[in-house]
């Protein structure tokens, strides 16, 4: 062995040792970290990037002892989650499909009570109390809503200005405007359920709150009156009248909500009764049509103080009872409810990360976020804080009642059922589920 060989061998040994050291170090560090697993629903690659860069990275930088694994499970997440929870192999963070799923999961002992974490992280002070009530079962806190949303009326402001129209404040004004639009060959309501059949319930929720009023809906949800009561008959009749008058157009079952939104932005449709999650489409479709979007609360019938903002929670966060890292899961949930995460996520991805923080004054949202969105979210937060809110069916109805409502309303629209029969079956299903304890917690008004 000459000198060169000795030197080379020495270098190899040293390099090998260094490599082994580095690799072992990495493995050891990875093993030291406590993993938090979180299954999320559908997200585009861009949206997955927001979750990675604006939630996971800042959290793990501040909490280097944790390592977060986000698994995107698509639209069938809730079904996969339920099966996984049964076998005790679910993720640490349980992302339910809404408050109506919390009670049965809590009852089955699949969720961890979060009261200690609520005290530790001061959730009781930092979050709007209504939402904490919705996550309670048997007096204990089991879930926090990921985002809350409301239904209202988007409209094409440019089209309205061109025609001298103003946003309607009453149902009479809305109907008069819709007739004017029809006469001008403009579709009154941009709407479609081709990609999401339960979109039907957005309109049922609007009708129940705008025509029957939130007080009546509250009474029905708490069992004080049946769903067959006169105010609900009037609400469903009104919704059916709009359908029969052609406000929804002939392509409702063929259009996706995105196609419908594009129709409104292009001026082929004038208004779009839908949820605040549609704010994410404003920047895509309005500028290309040189148009401006408008958003107002949905008009109400005579005698109902309006506008009413029906409250919706499409998903909640819980911690699995079987979690090996409940502290980490709770810490990540707490980070998501921070001012920093709220500001960052709402700057990048509007409409899906409106966490129910009680004080938004310290939140910094990017200047590029449309003022319309910020205004709408502020109005909604104020309405909820002042107890002036309504109820969305997907948040407050138990599963089978809600599922029937989606197809049942189609039956009324398409003449295969009557309002009376629809409401009778809705009520029978609701009362059955109420007896079984499946109605989610309804916060007192």
């Amino acid at each position: 062995m000459n000198r060169r060989d000795v030197l080379f061998s020495g270098l190899k040994l040293a390099g090998g040792a260094l490599l082994a050291n580095t690799a072992l170090g990495t493995i050891a560090r990875a093993q030291d970290k406590q993993r938090i697993t979180w299954w999320y629903e559908t997200a585009t690659p861009e949206q997955q990037g927001f979750i990675r860069d604006l939630l996971v990275k800042p959290f793990t930088t501040k909490n280097p002892q944790f390592d977060v694994a986000v698994d995107y499970r698509g639209t069938e997440l809730d079904k996969q989650l339920r099966v996984a929870m049964l076998s005790g192999s679910g993720p640490d963070i349980v992302f339910t499909a809404g408050p109506s799923y919390v009670a049965p999961m809590a009852k089955a002992g699949q969720l961890l009570a979060l009261d200690d974490y609520a005290a530790k992280f001061k959730w009781n002070e930092r979050l709007l109390p209504v939402f904490l009530e919705m996550g309670r079962y048997d007096g204990k806190l089991f879930a926090l809503p990921k985002t809350y949303e409301t239904l209202g009326l988007f409209y094409n402001k440019t089209l309205f200005e061109k025609n001298g129209w103003t946003a309607p404040k009453t149902l009479a004004e809305l109907e008069a405007l819709a007739e004017e639009m029809k006469a001008a060959n403009i579709l009154p309501f941009a709407a479609g359920n081709a990609n999401w059949r339960p979109a039907n319930e957005h309109y049922v929720s609007i009708a129940l709150n705008a025509v029957a009023g939130p007080d009546n809906v509250y009474k029905a949800l708490t069992g004080a009156q049946p769903w067959t009561a006169e105010p609900f008959v009037k609400a469903i009749d009104t919704l059916n009248k709009w359908w029969q008058a052609g406000y929804f157009g002939k392509d409702y079952f063929s259009l996706t909500d995105e196609q419908a939104f594009a129709l409104m932005a292009s001026g082929k449709a004038g208004m779009m009764p839908t949820g605040t999650w549609q704010f994410q489409r404003v920047a895509t479709y309005f500028p290309q049509n040189n148009a401006e979007a408008g958003f107002v609360g949905f008009p109400t019938a005579d005698g109902i103080e309006g506008p009413v903002y029906p409250l919706g929670v499409g998903s909640t966060f819980s911690v699995a009872a079987s979690s090996k890292n409940p502290d980490g899961a709770a810490a990540l949930i707490d980070f998501i409810f921070s001012d920093e995460a709220y500001g960052a996520m709402n700057t990048a991805w509007q409409g899906e990360w409106n966490m129910p923080l009680s004080d938004l004054s310290k939140v910094k949202i990017g200047t590029e976020v449309p003022a319309l969105y910020q205004e709408a979210m502020k109005t909604l937060a104020e309405s909820v804080a002042a107890n002036r809110y309504g109820y969305t069916t997907w948040t407050f109805l138990p599963p089978a009642t809600d599922s029937y409502l989606v197809s049942g309303m189609e039956e009324v629209w398409l003449g295969r059922s009557t309002t009376a029969d629809f409401l009778a079956q809705l009520d029978a299903t609701f009362q059955g589920e109420k007896e079984e304890g499946k109605v989610p917690a309804i916060p007192a008004r």
Partner: protein
């Protein structure tokens, strides 16, 4: 000792088929939301199906579906296969073309038809509408939704039958075909007296499998309409799925699944009998 050879397949059958089947049957007698503990309710789930009009709509739709698939694709497949046999030139090319829809994933086929053909915005229907030819999206009407879905499934399915029938027809002795031709038989006589009797076992098997598959149909219906609008295209499997995963009524879903299995069982029994007769000959 030779019995041990059966163990691997038996084990797979027990784990993958027998245990889930027994669990499904037993769940049909329980009320269960898929989350909490099941409660025994006897025959209540089956009794609840009797007055349920959606169940009867779904069952009727399955029967209509079976009738369509027992006739249209089998007739199309037989005719095309016989023509491939008679006109041998280019038969390989046409086999590939006919079979192609079968290898495309169901979800893609469904989305292509929904978005590129039926859609009044982005589809051929929309193009026709712009030229003043009014064509409605069949999936959006209660009277046509089921047939709209069946059309998509037929497009994807009939080529498969054609290839199967063509393979079977090639086994018919060439002498019989030549003899019939020498006797002056035309195409239809050749079909009726030689080819069809020659592949009868294959046709029987395909028809029985069609009955079983028709009662299991789910994918195209779920992707295209989810049983709507207004339950008009609901079939038993979408009803079971909705019951289990949307209504959280797993017991009812299991009862519907048992009904589906009964039809499959009847078809299987018929097949075994037909096969036994075939062996006896």
């Amino acid at each position: 000792m030779h019995c041990l050879y059966l163990v691997p397949t038996l084990l797979i059958n027990v784990v993958i088929i027998l245990i889930p089947a027994l669990m499904t049957i037993s769940l049909a007698f329980f009320r269960w939301d898929g989350i909490s503990d099941p409660v025994f309710v006897g025959l209540a789930n089956f009794r609840a199906l009797w007055p349920d009009r959606v169940f009867w709509t779904a069952l009727t739709n399955n029967v209509i579906w079976t009738a369509i698939f027992l006739t249209v694709p089998i007739a199309m497949g037989l005719l095309a296969a016989a023509m491939l046999l008679v006109a041998r030139r280019g038969s390989s090319f046409f086999q590939v073309i006919y079979f192609l829809p079968m290898v495309i994933a169901t979800a893609i086929t469904a989305r292509v038809w929904q978005g590129m053909i039926y859609s009044p915005v982005s589809g051929i229907n929309g193009l026709l509408n712009r030229f003043g030819i009014e064509v409605a999206d069949p999936l959006t009407r209660t009277s046509t939704a089921l047939y709209g879905i069946a059309t998509v499934d037929l497009w994807h399915w009939w080529g498969f039958l054609c290839v199967i029938f063509f393979a079977a027809l090639r086994q018919v002795p060439q002498e019989q075909i030549e003899a019939a031709r020498l006797e002056g038989a035309n195409f239809w006589q050749l079909m009726w007296y030689v080819l069809l009797p020659g592949i009868r076992p294959t046709i029987t098997l395909m028809m029985i499998m069609t009955v079983i598959w028709s009662f299991l149909v789910f994918d195209f219906v779920y992707i295209l309409t989810q049983g709507g609008p207004a339950f008009s295209s609901e079939v038993l499997s979408t009803l079971a799925y909705r019951s289990a995963f949307y209504d959280l009524a797993v017991g009812k879903a299991a009862a519907v699944a048992v009904v589906i299995s009964l039809f499959g069982l009847a078809a299987t029994a018929f097949y075994i009998r037909a096969q036994a007769k075939e062996f006896d000959r």
